[in-house]
């Protein structure tokens, strides 16, 4: 099968049941996507498939044939996607482990809904757990990335 990751096309000949998370981590050494639960419950592994946020631990390589995948490493060229900038300005991370997934989720939300309401932000981000408890700043950062304020 063929898959495009961060703009680069790859061929994959391994076990097609492999979740995309393990493919990008183990085969491509793109380690920004994290393993937190393996069952779609935490969002640490969030990637974009054709622009939409997807849990990398749930989507298999079989489902990605011909698809274009973006990981945190490919979200922006210079690391200055508005969500990344807002994340830094709000000093969101504590340990940081969940943050790639949070940022990918937020970036996808703002792509489809550039001016989400507070409730829409909370709902959209609720699949992403932050064990360190950065939610207050996550919400502020999404709001900032959305409105610039």
């Amino acid at each position: 099968m063929k898959i495009t990751v961060n703009g680069v096309e790859h061929t994959f000949e391994g076990d097609l049941s492999t979740p995309a998370l393990w493919y990008v981590r183990d085969e491509l050494a793109l380690n920004g996507s994290k393993f937190g639960c393996g069952t779609g419950l935490c969002g640490s592994c969030t990637i974009h498939v054709d622009g939409e946020a997807v849990r990398g631990c749930l989507v298999s390589m079989e489902e990605l044939d011909g698809k274009s995948v973006t990981t945190i490493e490919g979200l922006s060229e210079d690391g200055n996607h508005p969500v990344q900038v807002a994340w830094r300005q709000q000093n969101v991370p504590q340990c940081g482990f969940c943050q790639s997934g949070q940022i990918m989720q937020a970036a996808s939300l703002l792509k489809t809904n550039p001016k989400p309401s507070d409730q829409e932000i909370l709902d959209s981000m609720s699949g992403n757990i932050c064990r360190c408890g950065c939610y207050q700043r996550i919400v502020s950062a999404v709001r900032q990335a959305s409105t610039g304020a």
Binding site: D26, G36, G79, R88, Q94
Partner: protein
């Protein structure tokens, strides 16, 4: 020599003794800097303030850091290097798990040495305590133990740079001053950059402490300001930050392990044929089973070695293993809870006996009994345990997210039969720790497997492994009996605790708690009551117990602060006023007067330097209440709850605003008042308080491990749920009590958790009339 003088001085109350101590301070200061090891300072506590030769902004004070394994180091040559282009490298010898220690300690060095932060590179230390001093990042003590040595390192480097410049200009040291990454000639105004001075400055011997000039608080650029962002912020937000599982070595294999479902269960038989049939699986390797009491040794089991993580996971799931469940195979949570309740119904062994509590209870006009339960909990850091190890030519190298890399190194060496010199432990970032990652069993597993295959291997724990095979937070029943006289005055307070101890992880379980656990809110109730007793009652462990963020402070604060509010309701008093009344007159708690057989545990910090001051406890309670508008009228279904607790030598009060609706509780607002002495990095203090509220709310609302026939019933975030963005403490206001540097910095990472839970359950009571005595709350509000 110093040691003998010191103990003489310590034991001497005479004027000569005090004078001698003052002299000794000087001797010590010189010695310390010369040796680069701060050892044996604890004798100088009582001394009159030592006036240094040059103006100093702070006098050294002893902390428990000096008594930790390998003590505290302040040798600038070990911690700082300067390149010829002026780039300053500073070693972070503590682990980063989200508290900010990896940034804050180097920041202190940078400030005191007048380095520009944007020209600082942080270098993470490997596990090497003989070189760096104690590295065990635990107990909320990184700042508490290292703020002084970091300032000493920084001031020494600044002095060395000034000496080098003065020599170059042929003037006295007093003619030059280091400011902003360069040294300036005071009269001519000429300047030399740090890069140009680096070689000559770093070749100098470390100046004695009494030759150093420390900054005044007003001169700090970074310390206390909260403007410095965490060092890894850019890497984290771009996916480049390296955690345990993010290390890849050439030819590395991937391992996932089937561990005993019950601690100590032995393997009866293994059928790995289905596992080996999975593409990518290469082989299986047995790891010897360790029984309860094996410290941080791997649990044992069967490892599946594969070409990638997915194959290893599938292979592990395909293993057919028959276990002999062993002595803990009949551990069942409902029965255990009954056992703990029965245990506190009987007298235990006394840990505190002030006045005559039994008599006071018997003669009380009324006695009230309150009992609180908390189940075992899992740390569940966002990053499940993972480690990489390689083994070559009899030497092992590990990359792992560990809180205590030197313990990981020595434990692994002894497990593998190697010398510590043959094991190297590199520390990655930790995706959360909370105490879990001070137990490096996962790193030792990786090292063991690397040795077996003679190469490199990554061990990945799944979330199920993490929740089922970790080191549980203790489960406890806390019972409080209160006696009240005819005038509604509280005359007696008896607190009994039954909770399996983390001692059971280290030695044969005798059903007794360790002094650390007793010290966390059992022996040190700060209430002005004549008769106070505390007892520990028997409880045996049936799973590995390990400290978890805030440890025994969690059940203690839950019990004491809930009982206080319950009692206020019983007596018809305002809960905040009654709490303040219970704390009573401002005083320093004295162990003897409190009926303790020895000293307060006090986080092992010297009582003289870190006293339990009830004025500070009262002040945070009043501050939180005032900021929250305690007493204001709230809509139906809403309420405020207050709780205060001192732990990790910090004082924290919280007022939680709860709204109870349709069986669920929401928390629109929390006011946190924290007195942690001098606040070195207020921005990270705020983030820790926000985090502590979320951590506490997860435990309060959702979490509990239950065991059936010795096996944990939960496995992932569906049945071990976390607070999420759809319901979390929405706005946490943190009010930091301002203090100068002279008020010793205490702890921040852990102490926010204990007061949150009772503040929440008290708020729930005030909102709904429902009193929570058993955690988690789960569907109790339905």
């Amino acid at each position: 020599m110093l040691h003998q003088l010191e103990s003489f001085a310590r034991n001497s109350q005479s004027a000569t003794g005090l004078a001698l101590q003052a002299v000794l301070r000087k001797v010590a200061a010189t010695e310390i800097s010369r040796r680069g090891v701060l050892k044996g300072m604890s004798g100088f506590v009582l001394a009159a303030h030592f006036m240094p030769d040059t103006a100093q902004a702070f006098d050294a004070y002893p902390t428990q850091g000096l008594n930790m394994p390998h003590g505290v180091r302040n040798d600038p040559h070990i911690f700082v290097s300067i390149a010829s282009d002026g780039q300053v490298s500073i070693v972070a010898h503590r682990s980063e798990m989200g508290t900010g220690a990896r940034t804050s300690l180097p920041m202190i060095i940078a400030d005191e040495m007048e380095a520009d932060w944007d020209r600082v590179t942080i270098v993470q230390a490997e596990g090497d305590e003989p070189k760096y001093g104690n590295q065990d990042t635990d107990g909320s003590r990184s700042l508490r133990h290292h703020i002084q040595p970091c300032r000493e390192i920084g001031a020494a480097i600044r002095k060395m740079l000034e000496m080098a410049a003065a020599k170059q200009w042929g003037v006295s040291d007093g003619m030059v001053e280091a400011i902003g990454h360069q040294v300036i000639h005071k009269t001519l105004g000429t300047r030399i950059g740090y890069g140009d001075l680096a070689e000559s400055a770093m070749a100098l011997e470390t100046p004695a402490r009494d030759r150093l000039r420390f900054k005044t608080d007003e001169e700090f650029r970074y310390i206390g300001k909260g403007q410095i962002q965490i060092y890894d912020l850019h890497d984290i937000t771009t996916g480049k930050a390296v955690y345990g599982a993010d290390v890849n070595l050439p030819g590395m294999k991937f391992a996932v392990i089937a561990r005993p479902p019950v601690v100590g269960a032995m393997i009866k038989s293994v059928d790995d044929s289905a596992a080996l049939a999975i593409p990518g699986v290469e082989k299986t390797i047995q790891i010897p089973v360790s029984p309860l009491g094996s410290k941080f040794k791997p649990l044992g089991g069967v490892a599946v070695i594969a070409k990638n993580t997915w194959a290893a996971i599938r292979g592990r799931d395909a293993l057919k293993i028959e276990w002999d469940r062993g002595e803990h195979g009949s551990f069942n949570t409902p029965a255990y809870e009954k056992e703990l309740r029965a245990s506190v119904a009987q007298p235990g062994s006394s840990v505190r006996n002030q006045g005559d509590t039994e008599k006071a209870l018997q003669s009380a006009a009324q006695t009230l009994t309150y009992e609180y339960y908390q189940p075992h909990l899992a740390h569940a850091p966002m990053e499940p345990p993972a480690a990489v190890a390689s083994f070559k030519d009899g030497k092992c190298q590990i990359w792992a997210p560990v809180q205590s890399p030197y313990v990981a190194r020595t434990d692994t060496a002894s497990y593998l039969g190697l010398k510590p010199d043959d094991v190297r432990v590199n520390v990655t970032l930790l995706g959360g720790g909370f105490g879990r990652k001070s137990k490096a069993d996962f790193a030792t597993e990786a090292a063991f497997l690397a040795k077996q295959i003679g190469g490199a291997v990554k061990v990945q724990w799944t979330r199920e492994d993490d929740i089922r095979n970790g080191y549980s937070h203790t489960s406890s029943v806390e019972r409080i009996d209160v006696g009240i006289d005819a005038d509604n005055k509280v005359t007696a307070w008896r607190h009994r605790s039954a909770a399996p101890s983390f001692l059971s992880t280290f030695v044969k379980d005798e059903g007794r708690q360790h002094e650390i656990e007793i010290g966390m809110g059992l022996e040190n109730l700060p209430y002005a009551i004549d008769n106070i007793s505390a007892e520990q009652c028997k409880a045996y462990a049936h799973t590995r117990i390990g400290w978890y963020r805030s440890v025994s402070n969690i059940p203690r604060a839950f019990a004491v602060q809930s009982a206080t509010a319950e009692l206020a309701v019983e007596l018809g008093k305002d809960q905040k006023d009654f709490l303040i009344e219970m704390i009573g007159p401002d005083r320093i708690l004295e162990a003897k007067a409190s009926g303790l057989p020895g000293k307060f545990w006090n986080q092992y910090e010297p009582q003289e330097e870190f006293p339990f001051d009830t004025a500070r406890l009262r002040a945070v309670a009043e501050l939180a209440a005032e900021k929250a508008g305690w007493g204001k009228t709230l809509p139906e279904g809403e309420g405020l709850g207050i709780a205060v607790h001192r732990s990790f030598v910090s004082y924290i009060a919280m007022v939680v605003h709860a709204r109870v609706e349709d069986g669920t509780v929401r928390v629109p607002e929390v006011h946190v008042a924290i007195d942690c002495g001098f606040a070195a990095n207020p921005e990270r203090i705020r983030s820790q308080m926000q985090g502590a509220c979320v951590f506490g709310m997860s435990a309060a609302l959702h979490q509990g491990l239950s065991f059936e026939n010795g096996e944990v019933q939960q496995g992932n975030f569906n049945d071990y749920a976390m607070v999420r963005s759809d319901n979390f403490p929405e706005v946490v206001h943190t009010h930091i009590v301002p203090h100068p540097f002279s008020v010793h910095a205490t702890g921040v990472g852990e102490p926010g958790v204990p007061p949150f839970i009772p503040a929440l359950t008290n708020a729930i009571y005030n909102a709904s009339g429902k009193r929570i005595r058993n955690l988690p709350i789960d569907n109790q509000l339905a």
